[in-house]
């Protein structure tokens, strides 16, 4: 029994090692890397990705996939910007409306997937096209948000000053709060157990009498909510709404999830891994900027890391005898 439990945690451990190594390498190579500012920027600059990746983790744990993330971010950001700047809606109301629409959008995709047994890949692909198109219907170009709520509340009152120069941005607070909430949801609630059971084996989950339909639809709803929240965080960090924002963010989110040790086949993985995966992606970006390398090295390194982790998971799963059914995955 003991080696199995250990092997279960190996991908998570590997993620932690990579994160620590990258951070250590940065601190050793650049004298100003080990600073509060870099650390705060790591959280603040990757808050959008972090929030999106939390939703992606839940969907992937449940055995699905969500390709609509980036488009929903774009849609939510331009919707809020247009409502606040052009229709003078209260920003809090606009944000709430954005979140509700995101959740409804996710729920609609979940219903299509559950009721009509459509492949999640195609339904969320359609969702991606739909949300992106609708974002351009709302407004075809980007729009800055100059409302006092953003300038004074979000970026001044809600930011936590850490010392005279550095302050903890509200976007990072959103990311960390959501992450803690998701940690609780995934590991300490009945809904979280249902998600794991559903992703592990849907037929078994159904035979055990778990509410499969409700869980699946609810998972996509929460994922839609997370995507919309990522859109809200995007407006916080950029003070801008952009219908073309975050194209391909879903891929980054999925990459963060995989690097975090979660299996794309569902049922196996940890929320904490995803948070580390997001920080790893952020660190790679920062290191490549510090190293003055060209931007395309980022995707190459991310690709290589992805490869490393899927090979590692492969070794681990064949060692522990889990997922040893080529018919299902091969």
């Amino acid at each position: 029994m003991k080696p199995r439990i250990a092997s279960q945690y190996i991908p998570l451990l590997a993620t932690a090692v990579v994160l620590a190594t990258l951070y250590g390498a940065g601190c050793a190579s650049f004298h100003n890397f080990f600073s509060l500012r870099v650390l705060v920027n790591l959280f603040g600059g990757n808050a959008v990705l972090g929030v999106a990746a939390v939703g992606a983790t839940l969907v992937i744990l449940a055995g699905g996939i969500d390709l609509s993330v980036g488009s929903v971010i774009g849609f939510t950001s331009i919707l809020i910007a247009t409502l606040v700047e052009e229709h003078h809606v209260n920003p809090v109301l606009a944000i709430l409306l954005g979140l509700v629409l995101g959740a409804l959008f996710g729920a609609a995709m979940g219903c299509l997937i559950q009721w009509f047994e459509l492949p999640p890949f195609l339904v969320t692909l359609a969702g991606m096209f739909l949300a992106r198109g609708l974002a351009f219907v709302v407004r075809p170009d980007n729009l800055g948000i100059h409302h006092a709520f953003y300038a004074e509340r979000i970026n001044r009152d809600f930011a936590l000053p850490l010392n005279s120069q550095v302050s903890w941005p509200f976007a990072a607070t959103c990311f960390v709060t959501l992450f803690v909430g998701a940690l609780w949801l995934a590991h300490y609630t009945r809904f979280g157990r249902y998600i794991y059971a559903l992703g592990g084996d849907e037929t078994s989950a159904r035979l055990m009498g778990l509410p499969v339909a409700r869980t699946k639809i609810l998972t996509y709803t929460v994922a839609g909510l997370c995507s919309a929240l990522a859109g809200v965080v995007y407006t916080f960090t950029t003070q801008n709404g952009d219908p073309a924002a975050c194209v391909g963010k879903e891929l980054e989110a999925i990459a963060a999830v995989v690097i975090g040790g979660t299996l794309l086949s569902g049922g196996v993985g940890y929320m904490a891994g995803t948070a580390m995966g997001v920080l790893i992606l952020g660190l790679i970006q920062t290191l490549i900027t510090y190293q003055n390398l060209n931007s395309w090295w980022t995707v190459i390194v991310v690709g290589l890391l992805l490869l490393l982790f899927i090979l590692l998971q492969n070794v681990v799963s064949s060692l522990s005898g889990r997922l040893d059914s080529p018919g299902r995955h091969g």
Binding site: E117, L122, L130, G133, P140, I310
Partner: protein, 338 residues
């Protein structure tokens, strides 16, 4: 019951084409009434021109991608990397063509060889390391564009060489070369899969891997071959796309064409779960997508908003092909009648 199933199928091989063809026909009918000169064909300088020719011409990359994708999806996999492989093949061709020392056949061969190597890489990950296809091809989808930019050093490359320009813009016997190329690829793929046992092997692996393994089908070889073939198709599509605009931008070539290709395959009647596949269906699917895009341009729909009808088309096609949806509608219909 079982005998019944076997008897029905050979007689109705075309029945799978009904839905995609209906969709295409409806779109064309719409254009007949609402788009002026849509069916106008003319011969200029011995070349055939017109909206219809343009659809086939511009749709060539997705048609060719869809052929490879059909076989991959038939084995129960998926290839997300084709867009990035197109970018790599395109940059290799553009980089080499500007070097006068390299002969033209070598340029084409090198571009295709790199694409085939990329396909082999995917195949290796899926077969040898048993990585899920979605993840295995995601690696190249994410990293591939970076590699392409590495080749061009982040620069956009332009070229004037008439031989490479011919691939995407030339005419042969009055017909556009890309269209002929995709027709040739369709024939080649059809002959390879339907006149040999490979097609049967592919379908059996996708349908039930365990059963096919007991029947002596080597799933690894079959899968390795289809990913390699998909790489080759992506290389050809990349050459056409690059040649078409006489330049290459590693960030733009083939961007999100993998999604169009998957969509074309699904519209064509091949299920994402694998098994039975329909090559002509995939071609019709690709033409459907291209016609939809052309129609929207003709109606002056902004290109940014164009994804909305596309999304609705995906959902409609998925619903029509979903047994669960048909059951529900049938149940609802019966309840209303009684």
């Amino acid at each position: 019951m079982r005998a019944d199933r076997f008897q029905k199928q050979p007689a109705r091989w075309w029945s799978s084409l009904i839905w995609p063809l209906t969709g295409l026909a409806l779109l064309l009918l719409f254009n007949l009434f609402f788009t002026k000169g849509f069916f106008h064909l003319e011969i200029r300088d011995g070349h055939l021109y017109g909206s219809l020719v343009d659809i086939i011409n511009r749709g060539a990359p997705v048609m060719i991608l869809a052929l490879g994708m059909t076989l991959v999806i038939a084995t129960g996999g998926v290839d997300l990397s084709v867009g990035a492989v197109m970018a790599i093949a395109g940059t290799v061709a553009a980089e080499l063509i500007n070097n006068p020392k390299v002969p033209f056949p070598a340029v084409i061969l090198a571009a295709l060889a790199v694409a085939v190597a990329a396909g082999c890489w995917n195949g290796l990950l899926v077969t040898l390391f048993r990585v899920q296809p979605l993840v295995a091809t995601l690696v190249l989808m994410v990293g591939g564009r970076g590699v392409a930019q590495l080749i061009t050093n982040g620069q956009q490359i332009y070229f004037e060489d008439p031989r490479l320009v011919f691939v995407g813009n030339g005419h042969l016997l009055g017909l556009p070369f890309p269209a002929l190329l995709s027709l040739g690829m369709l024939l080649l793929t059809a002959v390879l899969t339907r006149k040999t046992a490979i097609g049967l092997f592919i379908e059996s692996v996708g349908d039930n891997q365990t059963a096919s393994a007991f029947a002596g089908v080597n799933a690894r070889t079959v899968k390795f071959l289809v990913y390699t073939f998909s790489g080759l198709c992506a290389g050809l599509a990349g050459l056409i796309d690059t040649s078409n605009i006489k330049s290459v931008d590693a960030n733009k070539i083939g961007l999100s064409l993998e999604l169009d290709a998957i969509l074309a395959v699904v519209v064509g009647g091949t299920a994402l779960t694998g098994g039975r596949f329909y090559l002509v269906g995939a071609i019709v699917g690709a033409l459907f997508i291209r016609t939809l895009t052309t129609t929207m341009y003709a109606l002056n729909v902004k290109s940014d908003v164009a994804p909305v009808p596309k999304a609705l088309a995906i959902i409609a096609v998925c619903l029509l092909q979903s047994p669960a949806f048909r059951r529900r509608v049938a149940g609802w219909w019966a309840a209303r009648k009684s």
